[in-house]
Symmetry: C2
Subunit: 447 residues, 2 copies
Amino acid sequence: MNMLATPARLSTADDDFDAQFKARLHWSADTDAAIEQRVADILADVQQRGDAAVLDYTARFDGLGAAAMAELELTQAELKAAFDGLSAVQRDALQAAARRVRSYHEAQKKASGESWSYRDEDGTLLGQKVTPLDRVGIYVPGGKAAYPSSVLMNAIPAHVAGVGEIIMVVPTPKGEKNALVLAAAYVAGVTRAFTIGGAQAVAALAYGTQTVPKVDKITGPGNAYVASAKKRVFGTVGIDMIAGPSEILVLADGTTPADWVAMDLFSQAEHDELAQSILLCPDAAYIDQVQAAINRLLPQMPRAEIIAKSLTGRGALIHTRSMEEACAISNRIAPEHLEVSSNAPHRWEPLLKHAGAIFLGAYTSESLGDYCAGPNHVLPTSGTARFSSPLGVYDFQKRSSLIEVSEQGAQVLGKIAAELAYGEGLQAHARAAEMRLQTVPEMRMSP
Amino acid sequence: MNMLATPARLSTADDDFDAQFKARLHWSADTDAAIEQRVADILADVQQRGDAAVLDYTARFDGLGAAAMAELELTQAELKAAFDGLSAVQRDALQAAARRVRSYHEAQKKASGESWSYRDEDGTLLGQKVTPLDRVGIYVPGGKAAYPSSVLMNAIPAHVAGVGEIIMVVPTPKGEKNALVLAAAYVAGVTRAFTIGGAQAVAALAYGTQTVPKVDKITGPGNAYVASAKKRVFGTVGIDMIAGPSEILVLADGTTPADWVAMDLFSQAEHDELAQSILLCPDAAYIDQVQAAINRLLPQMPRAEIIAKSLTGRGALIHTRSMEEACAISNRIAPEHLEVSSNAPHRWEPLLKHAGAIFLGAYTSESLGDYCAGPNHVLPTSGTARFSSPLGVYDFQKRSSLIEVSEQGAQVLGKIAAELAYGEGLQAHARAAEMRLQTVPEMRMSP
């Protein structure tokens, strides 16, 4: 097998850089109308027929027949048995990763997820009460892309938030179960687990069936059917984000060994042919070294074929005029994973506005973050880091405003509110405010 | 006009309470397939033809013809002139409300919207960097339901978050502009404003046109077309929530004047016939007093007809066995606005799990919160308070994880990550972690 991985070689000094750059980046999240219609039908059917519909679709799409939903539930004993069946080194690795992920999310909760309140000069109390969701569903992809680390990354923040019940769904095509996924569910403390997937699993979680409990929010990545189903049930339940192909952007000043950078680009490319790996660097000679490392290391990789297709089809090595320009281009991309592969990463970090996760310095390979550094690996893709955030404890909490107006405060606020309410033609609003005044004025009509 | 407002009278002691309660609460957020298709067509057209399409739809739906989009832009001078044209008392009320809303959201940002980080025992840095969105769009309904207070509630948190540009859209059917809305845009510091609305305005903001800049997120309520359009562009841009009819739930122990409670129920009911006002109270005699107050006060209200339809069609006065039971029922409803009309509100507040905003004590009428107490009045409706939060500074910020693994940290994390990556069959991930080890092991195949 003679494979080549040749990412596009661009330079910001090229006249047509903008056009080339846009063409490379282009990715459309538009869903297919046919998929949308099939998903709508599946959702309606599960909403109406419950378990029976889920069983039908599971038999049809996953080749997994069952007489009753109970047969598709994984017991806690099965999850524990899967964990016990792992090698000691795998068990330790899973638990160590879980520990670090938990500890990071506990810090996150403390920093930004606690209730708060204050009283103003009139003694009026204002604040927000932060509470966990009651019950959430986590979708774990099955088959080839079954990632136990995703179980930890979804379930642990929910636990830290204080969610009462965590319901996992994971398709097991032809009944084939992934022991690491089951073990991760055990380690992460999943409450109940069902071997169902696709739009039918999303529907079961969103509407509830005779057996699957209705949840308040569904998180976790999936294929086009799952993404379309999540978008469609949004409003009935909460959802996290719609995941696109994974991406890495490496911003290099040339001080990291080129082999390390090449392997980091591979580690994104090996996910999937549509994954995107991009290098931005002001040093042309270093870019040559990275390409040479790619050529040298590729043949060793078991997933070389996927890596080659991804790098050649969607990858890019971009020569920039400066690190500053590289940072500006990174902000245009708003990448999911952003490595600042520099010996002065804190010089560049303040210039970086949009990214799911920022990996600082040569030792911070993306893969350390993917598994066990602590931060979540569920990150906004396809430029959505411009407006969304990593999955976190905050996704499993919600806030209620708290207001307690003092009698004194009501005298001040009542007049302001009444004025504005009359202006909007909402006289009952105005009157409710005025009734709290010590001297209640005559009711006015609106202007 | 002889109108009656007769909310359903239920008791938790009734045998069929559950069925009656569910029937009263029922509200379907399902969108109409015909609306969905028309919205999809409008979005595609605006995406393709830009300004020209927006102009066509604005002429057709709003009866507002213009030769170019520039004619539909409101200048800063127009916004200021609208403010200057108000009465002094209206100007003061708008500014006082804006000041309080700003100060509350500044406290919110401080409590839960700042960047944080820490170093673990290996010197590895972990945290999150919080940054504002670059540019947001706020949708302000026009016509009858044009609420200047909504301009403040959307634009001010965006400002406090540090958003660079705030683009407002507000339909002006037949060119009729609401001076208070324009003045509120001036007070809130809106960057640019266009007199467009409907799905075409959402499309213009989501995709950008020759004249309307593309935004990162769209917030603000609208009709069924706007809601469907927001849901459809979700992923291309961020959106806040999909708003349903407004609701109030009053949890009363009988210590608040019955007139006050009746007026608070009115102030929700006057919004719209589909609005929902519910009273939960363990004291049957007090419920009678509230009904008597409703009968007495209704004829004075200019919006009596809407109030009567809303209360009779969707309202309920529910007699409970106790305040504890009332709290439990409130949690099942997860109301948008929850008044704890009690002389001991802090006794009940800890029992309340799901609500958009909690108004504590007799002086805290919902209308004070709607306009000027400080907290946001854009709140989750239709039970979505189970999983979502008031609009806030956090809606205009996003987070990027920060990770800087030390050389020492890489020795520990590298082994864990490699073990899990080999387990998932992702050898490049494993290898990237192993390359950072001081003693690089041979590459393994996956199990």
